[in-house]
Amino acid sequence: MLLYDAGRESYTKGWNQSIHRLDKGAAGAAERRRFAVARPVLTALLVIVGIPAVQVGYVVLAEHLLRFVPEKHQGKLRPWLWLAPALFFLGVFLVYPAASTFYLSVLGPDSREFVGVQNYRFAFTEREMLIAFRNNVFWLVVFTGITVSLGLAMAVLTDRVRYEPVARAVMFLPMAISFVAAGVIWKFVYEFRPLGLPQIGSLNALLLSVVPSFQPVAWLVNSSVNNAALILVAVWVWVGFCLVILSAALKGIPVEVLEAARVDGATEWRIFWRIILPMLAPTITVVATTMVIYALKAFDIVYVMTNGNFDTEVIANRMYKEMFNFRDFGRASAMAVILFLATIPVMAANIRRFRQQELTR
């Protein structure tokens, strides 16, 4: 564990040094000012004027060049010119790297020698990796279970109050916040001080004021609760997403169906289980699979809040460490492949279902 932190510390130190370098002396101040003004203005110009110009310019130029092509070939050539930028980006950033990662995963740390399945054997046997697998499964079950069921419950409940839009916006708001900021927010909520000192973290203070005999807990360090604490943050972020989608689907259920059931004497509870739930089932599946994929790829929250220490490691975070702290590209690639293989069935099912929905709409 020391090893991990050493790698990260040196990185952080480099960052701090460069800040200090900028702070030094009067000459430094002048340089800093130039740096701070000239570069952003140029970049801004490039961003605001240059990029759209290039993009519009591309199709205009392509269409002009097409005029020099014999008429009968124009129709054949045109689609590919319009598609070319997309194909370039998809090829360079998705197709080629994905294929290449498979290849790198059977090579050594610096991708020179062939090592067979050694990286995979490492990934499935090393202690920290086993903890990461366990945690990802824990995320998968608990995170998915809570977000979907809470989202569903809130969709049904907010449907009955007049201030629904406000309530929905409030729960949806964390989606607009980065996981990094959410990490800061919740690290502060979980802040721990030993008993006797004033608690400044909301959670310990709250529990202490309700139960005076409560022993403050170091939520992110204590390995019996820290995974749950991290998952709670992710739940806080994602419930709004489930809520928004499920409540849109709920609005799609014809009012007559529900009214008919009520007239026939069904209780609200029965209506929920016998009508609402089955009718929402396809949407629930889409939402649940999205949550499953997020749980498998969980990274940001863990990286910011514990960096995988104290038994909170997850595969994606470990992969990042292998890449940047240990510089072992073989192992990092093997872990990426494992992630890919784990998500592919879920993703494929999700896309198929989604396409069906599109077709029937």
């Binding site: 998809l90 360079v92 400044i200 890919f340 896309i351």
Partner: protein, 297 residues
């Protein structure tokens, strides 16, 4: 069991019964409002703490600031924006997020137009491949892309992140736009072509204006995604503070400042400001984008 239908009928007839219905709704209100409060309290803690003097943040809970004497300060913001370079990273975030939103949308719109309204061999297969590339998790692509960037000396520059985000955002963008553009009325496009309009005219005068709703949802979605992204930024520009966005800068502050909550909370709040404003003012479009794109990985 009392048939609820009868009960309902009675409720309508007898005024006072309506009150009891309101009472029965009380648990619903309590749960909904309770959860909303729970959802807001952590953000409140952040906001309040970011305006408190360091000594007080370290010694009392943030809720203590809500009672007199009120002692608030802007010093924390001055410090993170100046000495800790948060102002610089805010600009960096803008420089990253704006092009990383514009580029993929334009590229996707061209591709979507071709896929929806041009006939050519391999069109269906190509679209299936685009949809299929949605399954590739971006973790899978990081190592090779980083090597590629290193070869071309691109890592640690803005274009590196722009291009990476374009690549990662494209499958979803093409998918969404192709479905939207494909659903535009055929007669409209055909009559435009009949009148002798070129593909350029049709695209810029007809397709783009008609696709504004889809493009708006997509733009907001992609902007928030890029603005809030940590992983891509960390890997492609993480080691270069002069181009690193807010997420990376705050991630570093969390490590180096540890317990200086007044600074961390101020930095986090600055990073939330823009997405929250966009969220609140354009929520409608965002929801539409999310409904259409529940499958972005």
């Amino acid at each position: 069991m009392n048939p609820p239908a009868l009960a309902a009928e009675r409720t309508v007839r007898n005024g006072p019964r309506r009150l009891s219905a309101a009472w029965r709704h009380l648990p619903v209100h309590v749960i909904v409002i309770g959860l909303c409060v729970l959802w807001l309290v952590p953000v409140m803690g952040l906001l309040v703490s970011s305006f408190r003097p360091p000594r007080l943040v370290a010694s009392t809970g943030w809720w203590a600031a809500l009672a007199p004497p009120f002692r608030f300060t802007l010093e924390n913001y001055r410090e993170v924006l100046g000495a800790y370079g948060m102002g610089r990273s805010f600009l960096n975030s803008l420089f990253i997020a704006i092009p990383a939103t514009i580029i993929p949308i334009a590229v996707a719109a061209y591709a979507a137009y071709a896929l929806a309204w041009m006939r050519f061999w391999g069109r269906e297969v190509l679209f299936a491949m685009v949809v299929g590339s949605l399954v590739i998790p971006l973790q899978m692509t990081l190592v090779p892309v980083l090597r590629l960037f290193n070869q071309f000396g691109l890592s640690g520059t803005f274009p590196a992140v722009w291009m990476a985000h374009t690549g990662y955002g494209l499958p979803f963008a093409i998918y969404l736009l192709r479905n939207f553009i494909g659903a535009l009325p055929r007669d409209l496009l055909e009559s435009a072509h009949m009148d002798g309009a070129s593909h350029l005219t049709v695209f810029f005068r007809l397709i783009l204006p008609l696709s504004v709703p889809a493009i708006a949802s997509l733009a907001i979605f992609q902007f928030l995604w890029v603005w809030n992204d940590l992983l891509v930024a960390l890997i492609f520009v993480g080691g270069t503070p002069s181009v690193a966005p807010m997420t990376v800068a705050i991630g570093n502050l969390v490590n180096s400042l540890g317990q200086n909550w007044q600074l961390l909370t101020a930095a986090a709040f600055i990073s939330m400001l823009l997405p929250v404003v966009i969220f609140v003012s354009l929520q409608r479009y965002l929801v539409r984008g999310i409904l259409a794109g529940a499958i972005k990985g």
